[in-house]
Symmetry: C2
Subunit: 382 residues, 2 copies
Amino acid sequence: MRISHPTTDRGDSRVVVVGGGLAGRVTAWRAAQRGLDVTVVEPSDARSASRVAAGMLTPASEAAFGEEPLMEFAVHSAGLYKGFVAELEAASGTDVGHHTTGTLMVAFDRDDLAVLTDLHELQQRLGVPTERLTSRACRKLEPMLAPSVRGGVLAPEDHSVDPRRLLQALAVAGERAGVREVADRAVEVTDGLSVRLAGGGTLEADQVVLAAGCWGNDIALPEPVLPTLRPVKGQLLRTRMPEGSEPLVHRTVRGLVKGSPVYLVPRGDGEIVVGATQEELGHDDSLTVGGLWKILRDARELVPGVTELEVTEACVGLRPGSPDNEPLLGPTRVPGLHLAAGHFRHGVLLTPATGEAMAQALTEGTLPAPARRFSADREDNT
Amino acid sequence: MRISHPTTDRGDSRVVVVGGGLAGRVTAWRAAQRGLDVTVVEPSDARSASRVAAGMLTPASEAAFGEEPLMEFAVHSAGLYKGFVAELEAASGTDVGHHTTGTLMVAFDRDDLAVLTDLHELQQRLGVPTERLTSRACRKLEPMLAPSVRGGVLAPEDHSVDPRRLLQALAVAGERAGVREVADRAVEVTDGLSVRLAGGGTLEADQVVLAAGCWGNDIALPEPVLPTLRPVKGQLLRTRMPEGSEPLVHRTVRGLVKGSPVYLVPRGDGEIVVGATQEELGHDDSLTVGGLWKILRDARELVPGVTELEVTEACVGLRPGSPDNEPLLGPTRVPGLHLAAGHFRHGVLLTPATGEAMAQALTEGTLPAPARRFSADREDNT
């Protein structure tokens, strides 16, 4: 069903979104809801980081020193999630696997525990509800944890979602709201906002949103408004409980194992995502012996019973890191050309806030208050 | 090209081979060369252990106490390999990846070294040419070995082959010699040597060869002439050197790491097979976190540089183990029904000798001297 909408009166109704990952698809859906005429351009062999992400919605456990403003934005987006999921599931008829049992962070040695203690103080300063737990209390929550756990922090409001289902739901909701789809690779956005495609065609637009992850830098632009994004490689494993067995963990469990982070994200359907490496190696997206070994070593330290899990898939994704690790949202100095880029490790968590910000950017030309700091046009963005 | 052959005068010219792994295909090729009218039955989704095997031709390093007769047969088959490969490559026009740089076995701790010393004595008793090496001499041969290697044994005549190429070459050579192919699953062999297929058809035969690996026990037989085979699960990784890098190892390297065996088998095309687990779990063929972890842990101990390898495939196969771990070859007490089964860990190495034995069994009804001990009709075979 193609729905007709009244266009706005500013001649900016034709929007082309370059990129069909979470940032692109939430932008497309929200823009179509506002009455814009939206086309998403995504090659059929796209390798979006959204398809590889584990889907942790964990502003508390992701909190990091020096990243407080980003964490505030993350907390804002986390606050939108419940309503966002309800609206999206209704609009798409798709269950997105929203898992709301919280996140347990645990530490293994004295140094890991010191890091976790500092993190807990930061969480309290940011007003994120978390609770310090003894090792005994950790094991009471998650009996399969290794006995050597020294202590932990429970973040009851750090949830998770299945990013592949989320992506699928956004595609369906977008289509139902009138979003068109072009299966091709964008190679250039011209001065006049034509989007040239690898297949030879051209899409004329009033506004263009660049949301192509690490591949954004391969697209020619009239001015260099997109800084060079660092591909930060992540390797992870999708696994499954053997049939008929008890759940291995009941909530997302994140461990710091002798300084090395690892997580287990359980889904309602028995899947457990185990990850992930963080490697800055350029556009290399090979699965490596070293990457798998690191994940397996640390996951086994965290929950020895992972050895019983069946491996269903090994994945590699490239997270798009901006120069300051903060996302790039909204208008650039090229009139009509927007960014929804550089979400790095936070793309899934920031999806509702990205949709909110981009919808306002495309209809009013401005960013809402929580997103303003992350303006694509900010000074130090080079 | 269908070649016509004179048939034998015993009314046994129509041979159906059930199973398209190495045992089945070498039997089919050799039988067709002797003028028999051969059909191979193999389902298109077959998961033959031959496709997963690493392809080590290593009678010396596989030698084990209590298995001396099997090792003599293995040494006999290894002696046939060079001529077998030359004939098969000529007949099929297919390079089978025969790698003749020898095998280095290394030990890590004092116990591993004691095992290796005993093994070396056994090899000498069996007349297998091997050479005891200091840890320094091992590292001279393979500079990427871990410094903690305690010592080793070089088996210059323990080679390797690429089992997938070997299988492909046998299929082509067989086809060129007139072997027919039926893509279906055999469900029953009747008294009168009809082979009933899952798809509903029936193949009439004068002789039937059961060569279906662990799946042989799923086939109904007129008498229980096939003992229950144990599926012995093996998990392994296919990896690849990053482009432009030096070879990580120059020959097959086998390590005993604190009692746990691991190997690296390099191929001419840059592939390195890293394996393998040995698990007796019935027909379970899932890839597990524990299996991968064990392989990676031990491979890293053996050659720390494996971490740089790209993983191209993770495989699981089921080795068919007979009750006494020895193969089952030739005629059974059901007239015309033969076995080529139970090759366990040695299917690739025993391929030439299996072909030799089965060709004689199908044309003369007897086994050649080296194979006689492994008669499918032996007394204690239950």
